[in-house]
Symmetry: C2
Subunit: 111 residues, 2 copies
Protein backbone atom coordinates (compact mmCIF):
# COMPACT_ATOMS: atom_id res chain seq x y z
CA UNK A 1 0.00 0.00 0.00
CA UNK A 2 2.87 2.32 0.80
CA UNK A 3 4.06 1.75 -2.76
CA UNK A 4 0.79 2.95 -4.26
CA UNK A 5 0.54 6.59 -5.32
CA UNK A 6 -1.95 8.64 -3.31
CA UNK A 7 -4.04 9.64 -6.31
CA UNK A 8 -5.66 7.13 -8.63
CA UNK A 9 -4.83 7.69 -12.28
CA UNK A 10 -8.25 7.21 -13.76
CA UNK A 11 -9.28 7.45 -17.43
CA UNK A 12 -11.91 9.73 -18.91
CA UNK A 13 -15.35 9.01 -17.41
CA UNK A 14 -17.57 7.10 -17.37
CA UNK A 15 -16.22 4.55 -14.89
CA UNK A 16 -17.29 3.31 -11.47
CA UNK A 17 -16.37 4.21 -7.91
CA UNK A 18 -16.94 2.23 -4.74
CA UNK A 19 -16.99 4.65 -1.80
CA UNK A 20 -16.31 2.79 1.43
CA UNK A 21 -16.56 4.83 4.63
CA UNK A 22 -15.82 2.98 7.84
CA UNK A 23 -15.19 3.33 11.54
CA UNK A 24 -12.60 0.78 12.52
CA UNK A 25 -12.40 -0.96 15.85
CA UNK A 26 -9.05 -0.89 17.59
CA UNK A 27 -8.03 -4.40 16.53
CA UNK A 28 -5.62 -3.90 13.67
CA UNK A 29 -6.14 -5.41 10.27
CA UNK A 30 -3.49 -3.49 8.37
CA UNK A 31 -1.94 -6.55 6.80
CA UNK A 32 -5.24 -7.75 5.39
CA UNK A 33 -6.09 -4.26 4.14
CA UNK A 34 -2.77 -4.07 2.33
CA UNK A 35 -3.29 -7.53 0.90
CA UNK A 36 -6.73 -6.51 -0.36
CA UNK A 37 -5.28 -3.51 -2.19
CA UNK A 38 -2.63 -5.75 -3.74
CA UNK A 39 -5.27 -8.30 -4.73
CA UNK A 40 -7.69 -5.68 -6.08
CA UNK A 41 -4.96 -4.14 -8.19
CA UNK A 42 -4.52 -7.49 -9.96
CA UNK A 43 -8.21 -7.67 -10.89
CA UNK A 44 -9.28 -6.98 -14.48
CA UNK A 45 -10.86 -3.53 -14.68
CA UNK A 46 -9.19 -2.14 -11.55
CA UNK A 47 -8.37 1.53 -12.20
CA UNK A 48 -6.93 2.64 -8.88
CA UNK A 49 -7.66 3.32 -5.23
CA UNK A 50 -7.48 6.29 -2.87
CA UNK A 51 -7.54 5.76 0.85
CA UNK A 52 -7.07 7.69 4.08
CA UNK A 53 -7.79 6.93 7.71
CA UNK A 54 -7.66 9.34 10.63
CA UNK A 55 -6.27 8.64 14.07
CA UNK A 56 -9.84 8.34 15.38
CA UNK A 57 -10.40 5.24 13.26
CA UNK A 58 -12.63 6.83 10.66
CA UNK A 59 -11.53 6.19 7.10
CA UNK A 60 -12.60 6.57 3.49
CA UNK A 61 -11.41 4.28 0.72
CA UNK A 62 -12.53 4.87 -2.86
CA UNK A 63 -11.70 2.23 -5.46
CA UNK A 64 -12.24 2.85 -9.14
CA UNK A 65 -13.40 0.29 -11.67
CA UNK A 66 -13.80 0.17 -15.43
CA UNK A 67 -17.20 -1.50 -15.39
CA UNK A 68 -19.98 -2.93 -13.26
CA UNK A 69 -18.74 -6.40 -14.24
CA UNK A 70 -15.26 -5.63 -12.89
CA UNK A 71 -16.76 -4.51 -9.56
CA UNK A 72 -18.93 -7.61 -9.35
CA UNK A 73 -15.96 -9.90 -10.00
CA UNK A 74 -13.96 -8.20 -7.26
CA UNK A 75 -16.88 -8.42 -4.83
CA UNK A 76 -17.07 -12.18 -5.51
CA UNK A 77 -13.33 -12.86 -5.20
CA UNK A 78 -12.94 -15.71 -2.69
CA UNK A 79 -10.11 -14.16 -0.67
CA UNK A 80 -11.96 -10.85 -0.69
CA UNK A 81 -15.19 -12.53 0.47
CA UNK A 82 -13.35 -13.88 3.51
CA UNK A 83 -12.01 -10.40 4.27
CA UNK A 84 -15.48 -8.89 3.83
CA UNK A 85 -16.83 -11.33 6.39
CA UNK A 86 -14.03 -10.49 8.84
CA UNK A 87 -14.75 -6.83 8.25
CA UNK A 88 -18.40 -7.26 9.18
CA UNK A 89 -17.69 -9.45 12.18
CA UNK A 90 -14.51 -7.98 13.60
CA UNK A 91 -12.96 -4.88 12.16
CA UNK A 92 -15.69 -2.34 11.60
CA UNK A 93 -17.96 -0.77 14.14
CA UNK A 94 -19.89 0.70 11.25
CA UNK A 95 -19.48 1.16 7.51
CA UNK A 96 -21.26 2.60 4.53
CA UNK A 97 -20.59 1.30 1.04
CA UNK A 98 -21.84 3.24 -1.95
CA UNK A 99 -21.52 2.19 -5.58
CA UNK A 100 -21.46 5.13 -7.95
CA UNK A 101 -20.92 5.88 -11.62
CA UNK A 102 -18.41 8.67 -12.19
CA UNK A 103 -19.80 11.02 -14.83
CA UNK A 104 -17.32 13.92 -14.79
CA UNK A 105 -13.86 14.49 -13.41
CA UNK A 106 -11.49 17.42 -12.98
CA UNK A 107 -7.95 17.69 -11.70
CA UNK A 108 -5.49 20.42 -10.78
CA UNK A 109 -2.87 20.58 -12.02
CA UNK A 110 -4.66 19.29 -15.10
CA UNK A 111 -3.79 15.72 -16.01
Amino acid sequence: MSMMPKFAKTPEPPYYAVIFSSMRRDNGYTQVAERMVELASQQPGFLGVESVRGTDGFGITVSYWASAEAMAAWKANVEHLAAQEMGKQEWYEHYELRVAKVERAYAKPST
Copy 2:
Protein backbone atom coordinates in the same frame (compact mmCIF):
# COMPACT_ATOMS: atom_id res chain seq x y z
CA MET B 1 -17.28 20.39 11.45
CA SER B 2 -16.58 18.76 14.80
CA MET B 3 -20.32 18.82 15.39
CA MET B 4 -21.05 16.86 12.22
CA PRO B 5 -21.45 13.08 12.50
CA LYS B 6 -18.76 11.07 10.72
CA PHE B 7 -21.17 9.20 8.50
CA ALA B 8 -23.57 10.93 6.13
CA LYS B 9 -27.18 9.87 6.56
CA THR B 10 -28.14 9.49 2.94
CA PRO B 11 -31.51 8.43 1.50
CA GLU B 12 -32.16 5.51 -0.84
CA PRO B 13 -30.24 5.93 -4.12
CA PRO B 14 -30.13 7.44 -6.61
CA TYR B 15 -28.36 10.58 -5.46
CA TYR B 16 -25.05 12.25 -6.27
CA ALA B 17 -21.59 12.18 -4.73
CA VAL B 18 -18.72 14.60 -5.23
CA ILE B 19 -15.47 12.80 -4.45
CA PHE B 20 -12.74 15.32 -3.70
CA SER B 21 -9.24 13.90 -3.14
CA SER B 22 -6.54 16.41 -2.34
CA MET B 23 -2.99 16.88 -1.17
CA ARG B 24 -2.87 19.94 1.01
CA ARG B 25 0.05 22.28 1.31
CA ASP B 26 1.20 23.13 4.80
CA ASN B 27 -0.54 26.48 5.00
CA GLY B 28 -3.64 25.87 7.07
CA TYR B 29 -7.09 26.60 5.84
CA THR B 30 -9.06 24.78 8.52
CA GLN B 31 -11.34 27.70 9.28
CA VAL B 32 -12.38 28.06 5.66
CA ALA B 33 -12.90 24.31 5.30
CA GLU B 34 -15.17 24.31 8.33
CA ARG B 35 -17.04 27.32 7.02
CA MET B 36 -17.54 25.54 3.67
CA VAL B 37 -19.07 22.52 5.39
CA GLU B 38 -21.37 24.82 7.35
CA LEU B 39 -22.32 26.69 4.18
CA ALA B 40 -22.81 23.51 2.13
CA SER B 41 -25.07 22.06 4.79
CA GLN B 42 -27.39 25.05 4.37
CA GLN B 43 -27.72 24.46 0.61
CA PRO B 44 -30.93 22.95 -0.78
CA GLY B 45 -30.32 19.31 -1.69
CA PHE B 46 -27.32 18.81 0.60
CA LEU B 47 -27.50 15.27 2.00
CA GLY B 48 -24.32 15.04 4.03
CA VAL B 49 -20.53 14.95 3.94
CA GLU B 50 -17.80 12.52 4.97
CA SER B 51 -14.24 13.73 5.31
CA VAL B 52 -10.88 12.52 6.55
CA ARG B 53 -7.33 13.84 6.18
CA GLY B 54 -4.13 12.08 7.12
CA THR B 55 -1.12 13.60 8.83
CA ASP B 56 0.70 13.57 5.46
CA GLY B 57 -1.79 16.12 4.07
CA PHE B 58 -3.70 13.73 1.84
CA GLY B 59 -7.45 13.83 2.33
CA ILE B 60 -10.72 12.63 0.89
CA THR B 61 -13.99 14.52 1.26
CA VAL B 62 -17.20 13.10 -0.20
CA SER B 63 -20.27 15.32 -0.23
CA TYR B 64 -23.68 13.94 -1.12
CA TRP B 65 -26.37 15.77 -3.06
CA ALA B 66 -29.97 15.11 -3.98
CA SER B 67 -29.66 16.21 -7.60
CA ALA B 68 -27.36 17.55 -10.29
CA GLU B 69 -29.07 20.93 -9.85
CA ALA B 70 -28.19 20.98 -6.14
CA MET B 71 -24.53 20.28 -6.95
CA ALA B 72 -24.47 22.98 -9.61
CA ALA B 73 -25.97 25.55 -7.23
CA TRP B 74 -23.34 24.75 -4.60
CA LYS B 75 -20.55 24.95 -7.16
CA ALA B 76 -21.78 28.43 -8.13
CA ASN B 77 -22.22 29.76 -4.57
CA VAL B 78 -20.29 33.04 -4.38
CA GLU B 79 -18.52 32.38 -1.08
CA HIS B 80 -17.71 28.86 -2.26
CA LEU B 81 -16.32 30.19 -5.57
CA ALA B 82 -13.87 32.36 -3.63
CA ALA B 83 -12.79 29.33 -1.58
CA GLN B 84 -12.41 27.23 -4.73
CA GLU B 85 -10.08 29.87 -6.14
CA MET B 86 -8.02 29.95 -2.94
CA GLY B 87 -7.88 26.18 -3.06
CA LYS B 88 -6.46 26.19 -6.56
CA GLN B 89 -4.01 28.99 -5.87
CA GLU B 90 -2.90 28.33 -2.32
CA TRP B 91 -4.08 25.30 -0.43
CA TYR B 92 -3.77 22.30 -2.70
CA GLU B 93 -0.67 20.91 -4.27
CA HIS B 94 -2.94 18.62 -6.26
CA TYR B 95 -6.55 17.55 -6.29
CA GLU B 96 -8.94 15.29 -8.16
CA LEU B 97 -12.66 16.00 -8.19
CA ARG B 98 -15.06 13.36 -9.45
CA VAL B 99 -18.80 13.75 -9.81
CA ALA B 100 -20.65 10.47 -9.52
CA LYS B 101 -24.19 9.15 -9.35
CA VAL B 102 -24.72 6.74 -6.46
CA GLU B 103 -26.67 3.75 -7.72
CA ARG B 104 -26.59 1.36 -4.77
CA ALA B 105 -25.70 1.60 -1.09
CA TYR B 106 -25.21 -0.78 1.81
CA ALA B 107 -24.49 -0.22 5.48
CA LYS B 108 -23.56 -2.28 8.49
CA PRO B 109 -25.17 -2.26 10.91
CA SER B 110 -28.09 -1.83 8.52
CA THR B 111 -29.70 1.59 8.62
